[in-house]
Subunit: 211 residues, 4 copies
Amino acid sequence: MAAPGIPQGLSRSQRRRREDIIEAALTIFDRDGFEGARIDDVAAEAEIAKGTVYLYFKNKQALLEGVIHAIVRPAIDAVERAADTKEGTAVDRLTRQISVMGERLGKGPMKTILRLMIAEGPRHDQLRYFYYKEIVEPGMRAIARCLADGEASGEFRPGSADIAPQVFAGPPLMAVVWRILFDDLAPLDIDRLMKDHVATVLDGLRLPAEV
Amino acid sequence: MAAPGIPQGLSRSQRRRREDIIEAALTIFDRDGFEGARIDDVAAEAEIAKGTVYLYFKNKQALLEGVIHAIVRPAIDAVERAADTKEGTAVDRLTRQISVMGERLGKGPMKTILRLMIAEGPRHDQLRYFYYKEIVEPGMRAIARCLADGEASGEFRPGSADIAPQVFAGPPLMAVVWRILFDDLAPLDIDRLMKDHVATVLDGLRLPAEV
Amino acid sequence: MAAPGIPQGLSRSQRRRREDIIEAALTIFDRDGFEGARIDDVAAEAEIAKGTVYLYFKNKQALLEGVIHAIVRPAIDAVERAADTKEGTAVDRLTRQISVMGERLGKGPMKTILRLMIAEGPRHDQLRYFYYKEIVEPGMRAIARCLADGEASGEFRPGSADIAPQVFAGPPLMAVVWRILFDDLAPLDIDRLMKDHVATVLDGLRLPAEV
Amino acid sequence: MAAPGIPQGLSRSQRRRREDIIEAALTIFDRDGFEGARIDDVAAEAEIAKGTVYLYFKNKQALLEGVIHAIVRPAIDAVERAADTKEGTAVDRLTRQISVMGERLGKGPMKTILRLMIAEGPRHDQLRYFYYKEIVEPGMRAIARCLADGEASGEFRPGSADIAPQVFAGPPLMAVVWRILFDDLAPLDIDRLMKDHVATVLDGLRLPAEV
DNA sequence: GATGAATGAGGGTTCATTCAT
DNA sequence: GATGAATGAACCCTCATTCAT
């Protein structure tokens, strides 16, 4: 399966150049959004001529795809590494899963990617599909597996396996969106958010009724 | 305090006209995003001439603000109504709070607003500030109050008052984002999501250790 | 049959505007060729803004078509008027036919049209087809009819009806091409050319062998 | 007088290379026209790198000149060979002259040259001048000589020497233009056209009035 | 000499905004 | 007030030309 968007047959220096452009584009997209970004600015940021961008990307759309793929692909690995382990209790695994999500989403370039996805995704089916299949679905599935295993092992309450995994992914998502919109107005401590989240979903708010 | 964006001195028919334009703009922004939307299309959707849009809104930015304000304002009321009650247990109030958020965000036009906020907010400080002050901060504060009251009344565990309120707002946010991006790929049952969310945060996943 | 390229529902002033643009485009196309022409220059020649051109023509191709149609359509009428007459001898009719061709091609804007057709036609099937069906085929048919009638009536030699009509259209074509390429190097007297042509094809060069 | 465009001091392999480029350019110009042709495509057709084209031709204009010269030069010889003979009757010589023109124009690469001349000539005086001096003027002169000789020898009617030679060159020109524009819509039998042409101009259409 | 990556001027097209009617 | 034709700045993309390797 030739993954689309992975260019073949580029020399080392060309690969480097391609990465430079992607990095520059990420910067500009982050600053101006996709539609607002000018290829001129991307080129200037990458310190190359405008035309050169077009040697590496067919058009602006392809550049967007290139950026998203470049950032998302490593995240895929992280999700899979976190998910593929059977080691540890369900509690450990769920904790790790949530923490990886918080890490990935709340910090670094996924912030820009999510912004781009939300702004452009609705008009770009292929991108949505790619993102869903590669990141979201595996993530949800991994959470669902934790829940099922935890219920089976008696760690979690009966019925836990039926909880929508999106419940657990909500706060990490909140971390990104908050970073996109409100970080200057009210900075969010992402690590604390994730810890609170894990603690809450594990033990709940309610005091167990006394016997 | 003259709220910006609230036009004064419009006749009834003019107010109606203004609302028509906002409704049309919402439709078009939802379809094409803000940058992708053409004033032509908004006018056509509102069944008026292009120039008329400019009689009611100074420019495209102002139209964006108009749309966001028009949708957000009723939501403010809802948040405040849900928050201002002291009636009921903390559990009831938190449940109601989350349910209102899920309702507001997961259904109806807030989907488009959030998309617009995420896409345009970073370039539009005033909008972000407005949204934060009017919706997000009150919402977070209301949740924090529930938590504090619940801890004080002994309904919630000690330390509950210190939990970041964003934990509770995460899943409702997930509902919107999912609707924006993945609803055709994997429809999400928002009511079930909210129920799962409430149940989980109240009682946790973990079985209480037997005495 | 709605002739393509004939715009409907334009007001008088719009029709005027459209004609101005076509006239300007003809001037610029004549000076620079189609590919070499800049929409900027067309607009400047028409004394309007660049964007206005696009209110009347979808794109540069459509402008080319507009120009060609606008010039060709009157020529169609001329060809048909010359052809539809049954009056006069075959000699008269052929003479008139050739003279109309010389007139049409050798003088006025058909020079530019032919140049555009030759330069762009090979890449623009629709244009070629239009030109062939509307101008060339009727013209050839009209000549063929003259020849057949002349042979039938005994004016022309037996076998005249089988002569390729292109023989008679060649010199008028020469008139245009000469005007396009060599008029400054060696001006051509088109009227004389047509007269020589008619005289030659009617009576030939060769002295009839004496009896 | 160093004929412009005839490069000196090229090795055998360089001359070969130059010819390859010209051949490739002819192919591409024929397909896309001059303005529409991309140097990239010419290079690809010649199976060399783009930069190499510029080792043999200063720029795209020079390539155009190179192509035209390369095709036109052999045609010059043909015209001169056909014209320089004093052998045979005037009828034979005129017949040969027309037949050579039909051959040269109606078949082979002169089709592309004429298209290029018509499209680019008006913007390229040097090219027009070259073409006129080398091909057109000698051709016209040769025809005029035939006519004069034929009149002098009594083969042709009195006054024949005064007929514009363009009359005789018209149908061969028609052959090229037809090939450029209409050959797929209505193929033209060039040999028959030339035969009809010769027969018509020699003996005319009109039956000689009986005595 | 040959290469082809890089350059950047140029031009077609779009669309927010204006303004005469 | 309403209209929609007109404007022209902005921007994506192409491609002739250059030049370091």
